[in-house]
């Protein structure tokens, strides 16, 4: 363990984070986080989705305010009011989603907001020359006049880094910088980090890919549930140790008892691939009454996979059979007719029409049922909605706007939309995202009931406990590839994480 970072006097001119706390409502996302980053050092920040890494980074980069705690940077108290103040102080952050202006040139992006002027006009010559110099420093041979849109993701990322360099950044936070990079591009990035490190720059490096950490990091900080659970002075620690620390032991949750699956196979997926390679050659089957969990890190291709099975996105090859019959995946309507329904990842953008009533939302997707000859009568919608509401225990009335419901009840409305058909295959993507912990148990019960009634259920979740607690079997994806299917007995936190980070 490192020396306690809570020194009143700084032994070096790096970054000291002391006791940062942050809550959103009743949810504490960061509790007493403390660590240090020395000059010319790369500190890796590790943790599962939602462990608090982003919150810490956002506080240091000035886009989030902590509830408590202090930061010392270069020997002085540091509390940036906004990202501009952080940049002024020499702290930059490269986000996972790059924040560039795609239709402006490389140089314009580097100098946006502070374009060099001469005689009231933009001094393009100076701007291009200076930008060029910074790009060369990174070993990047790109014309400064080229539009950013035409660059590859890796080159765009380097434009962001070049921008940070011209801002005299001394600490750079990299959030999942390699998520969209290939092997060679990753190596180039590492070379640049080492070069800048030698010049005295510090880095906070956030990543899920444990294999990279040993290559690039000097020290490792592990987070879990908003807390820092371990600090390692060296980066070449066994993956298993880190994974155990990342997953830890969390509070026991109430998961329903699962009934054994039946014999009939309802869903068969064979060699399914997407056109953009977000998932590749995935094959699995789910039986009647069975719940299959799909685990993986963000960007592993989980959502893309289930959306494709539900006909929402196109596939490039492979086949899906439902109850032995092939499904022609040319749109959600066809999948729904074949008995495959999806509760999508983004409830508010994809699941419900917020301004409209529960009744309306339940009717969308069920007009064949509610309006047999195409006539929709308010009474029929009301009756249909009441049935759905009582079946799932939604706290609301048919003529109530969905926007007035809690997240858990909105989710139940989406599930209620589909149960009456009844579907053969029920897919739920992140069924409890943004839902209070207390309300989750009710959703788990609903999911277990769906399986008990004979449907094949597929649950995608970033919450490992949830996948493990709910599933008969767990399919693990990593970078679009199927890494294995674990039986309930052998599926543990560590086993899943090992596959997911492979």
């Amino acid at each position: 363990m490192s020396s306690d970072p809570r020194h009143s006097e700084s032994p070096h001119h790096g970054l000291f984070v002391n006791g940062l706390c942050k809550s959103y409502g009743p949810v504490q996302v960061l509790a007493d986080a403390s660590f240090e980053v020395r000059p010319g050092e790369v500190v890796a920040l590790l943790g599962e989705n939602g462990a608090g890494k982003s919150t810490v980074s956002n506080i240091i980069a000035g886009s989030t305010k902590p509830d408590a705690g202090t930061i010392i940077w270069r020997g002085k108290p540091y509390s940036p009011a906004n990202p501009a103040a952080a940049i002024e102080a020499g702290v930059g952050m490269i986000h996972q989603e790059l924040k560039l202006l795609p239709d402006l040139s490389v140089a314009e992006n580097v100098y946006v907001g502070r374009l060099p002027m001469r005689g009231g006009r933009i001094d393009r010559a100076t701007m291009n020359a200076k930008a060029s110099a910074q790009l060369k420093r990174l070993g990047l041979d790109v014309s400064p006049e080229r539009k950013v849109r035409t660059l590859r993701i890796a080159a765009q990322q380097q434009v962001e880094i070049a921008k940070a360099l011209t801002l005299n950044a001394e600490l750079l936070i990299l959030d999942e910088p390699t998520a969209a990079l290939g092997g060679e591009e990753t190596e180039l990035l590492f070379q640049q980090i080492r070069k800048l490190k030698a010049e005295g720059m510090s880095f906070i490096y956030i990543s899920h890919r444990l294999d990279e950490i040993a290559q690039i990091a000097d020290r490792v900080v592990v987070m879990r549930d908003g807390r820092i659970v371990a600090r390692h002075e060296r980066a070449d620690i066994p993956v298993r140790t880190v994974v155990e620390q990342m997953v830890g032991r969390s509070v026991e949750r109430m998961f329903p008892k699962l009934s054994p699956p039946r014999d009939e196979t309802l869903l068969e997926v064979e060699n399914l691939s997407s056109p953009d390679k977000s998932f590749n050659a995935v094959s699995f089957s789910v039986k009647s009454g069975e719940i299959l969990g799909i685990a993986g890190l963000i960007g592993a291709g989980r959502t893309e996979l289930v959306r494709a099975i539900a006909g929402a996105d196109p596939i490039s090859s492979g086949a899906v059979h439902v109850a032995g019959k092939p499904v022609h995946l040319n749109g959600p309507a066809a999948a729904i007719r074949a008995g495959v329904v999806l509760v999508p990842e983004d409830r508010k953008a994809q699941g419900v029409v917020l301004e409209q009533t529960i009744g309306e939302n339940l009717a969308f997707g069920n007009f064949d049922h509610v309006a047999p000859k195409g006539w929709v009568f308010p009474k029929a919608v009301q009756k249909f909605a009441e049935a759905g509401i009582s079946r799932l225990g939604v706290k609301g009335k048919p003529n109530q706007a969905v926007s007035k419901l809690s997240g858990g009840n909105q989710q139940k409305v989406i599930i209620a939309k589909w149960v009456s058909r009844p579907p053969k295959v029920f897919i739920l993507d992140e069924p409890t995202r943004g839902i209070d912990v207390g309300a989750r148990a009710a959703i788990y019960d609903v999911i277990a009931d769906l399986a008990r009634s004979g449907m094949a259920v597929v649950v995608v979740s970033s919450d490992l406990e949830e996948v493990l607690g709910l599933s008969h079997r767990v399919l693990v994806l990593s970078r679009g590839r199927q890494r294995g299917i674990l039986e309930r007995g052998e599926a543990s936190n560590v086993a899943v994480m090992e596959l997911a980070t492979s």
């Binding site: 929402a312 959600p332 917020l354 409209q356 009717a363 309006a371 195409g374 929709v376 308010p378």
Partner: protein, 336 residues
């Protein structure tokens, strides 16, 4: 009074479906503001003029709003699904010119019925092309229909090289002149029937309800199995057909067709729909609301004429009313 006239017709539409008083309010849901505005407007004009509240004048107002009213029905559908159609004024002119060219003795002389059919087909095709530009080539509706606006206007001019066609059979012009049952011309009747049909469609047909889903969130609608693309194509096609029909009504009223007619009508139409409480972001709106919006514009024009206000000032007043109507609606929604 114009309001009660039209409103009771719509109420009858709801009544035909076994509705009660609550259904009536549902039909005008979210349009109480405009409805009150219309009532106040009528009240003010009744008090300030001798001529506003006369049967003759009210019938005048109804005659004057038929073209706008018919176009506004189509525009309501388009705005409901989150789109916009800037081409309706040009499509109106094109349809009228096609009708005149085919029907008029100086040109093809194939008779008015053939002309009307051809005009509606051409107008429908214009709408369908706009729809396909939106769904297939993913053009924003604003751009797709802006392009169609230019193309249709150009085609309208090409038919006669820019000159008008005057003189149609009496039976045709009588459609907008002769008042049956003492008050109802065929064209006003057509507008009312269309309003009722589309009000029923939007309220009680699965397809009509689906339009609300598309406007609320096209992705939710798609994932719910609603054929978003084909419905979008249909909506633009229907909007085109109704614009074409409005062109024919205008031809009957004026006993002539000219390629420059309908200039700027798209803005009046959009204004009427928006004053009627529809949201330009889609998902909110109704035929009842649009009827109120059309009446507000019609009554306002009529009233300002009666008061002897110059047409230039009228434009200013109507602009102010549009801003006021939508602003109050926005404030009301936010305060809820």
């Amino acid at each position: 009074m114009a309001v009660s006239n039209d409103a009771s017709e719509l109420k009858a539409a709801a009544g035909a479906q076994g509705a009660t008083g609550t259904k009536f309010s549902a039909l005008f849901a979210g349009t109480m503001g405009p409805l009150i505005g219309l009532a106040l407007l009528c009240l003010a004009l009744t008090l300030t003029t001798d001529t506003f509240l006369t049967v003759r004048n009210i019938l005048n107002v109804l005659d004057q709003i038929t073209v706008l009213g018919i176009m506004a029905i189509g525009m309501t559908l388009v705005i409901l699904i989150g789109g916009i159609d800037l081409s309706v004024g040009s499509v109106l002119a094109l349809a009228a010119m096609v009708m005149g060219y085919i029907a008029h003795p100086d040109y093809l002389n194939l008779g008015v019925p053939a002309g009307v059919v051809a005009a509606l087909v051409v107008a429908g095709l214009c709408g369908l092309v706009s729809g396909l530009l939106v769904t297939m080539t993913k053009l924003p509706p604003f751009i797709a229909t802006l392009a169609m606006m230019s193309v249709a206007r150009g085609l309208a001019n090409m038919i006669t090289d820019g000159s008008q066609i005057v003189g149609f059979p009496d039976w045709f012009t009588n459609l907008s002149i002769v008042r049956h049952f003492g008050f109802l011309s065929v064209t006003v009747g057509l507008m009312i029937v269309l309003a009722i049909v589309f009000a029923i469609f939007l309220n009680y047909r699965a397809t009509g309800r689906s339009l609300y889903a598309i406007g609320g969130s096209a992705e939710v609608a798609r994932l719910s199995g609603i054929p978003v693309k084909s419905l979008t194509n249909w909506v633009y096609a229907i909007c085109g057909v109704l614009a074409g029909l409005a062109g024919i009504v205008l031809a009957a009223r004026l006993d002539s067709v000219q390629p420059s007619s309908g200039l700027g009508y798209e803005l009046d139409t959009i204004a009427a729909v928006v004053i009627g409480g529809a949201s330009l972001s889609g998902g909110v709106g109704s035929i009842g609301g649009t009827a109120v919006g059309v009446l507000i514009i019609g009554v306002l024009r009529n009233g300002l004429n009666l008061l002897g206000v110059s047409p230039f000032i009228q434009q200013v007043v109507i602009g102010v009313v549009i801003a006021l109507a939508v602003a109050t609606d926005t404030w009301r929604r936010r305060s809820q």
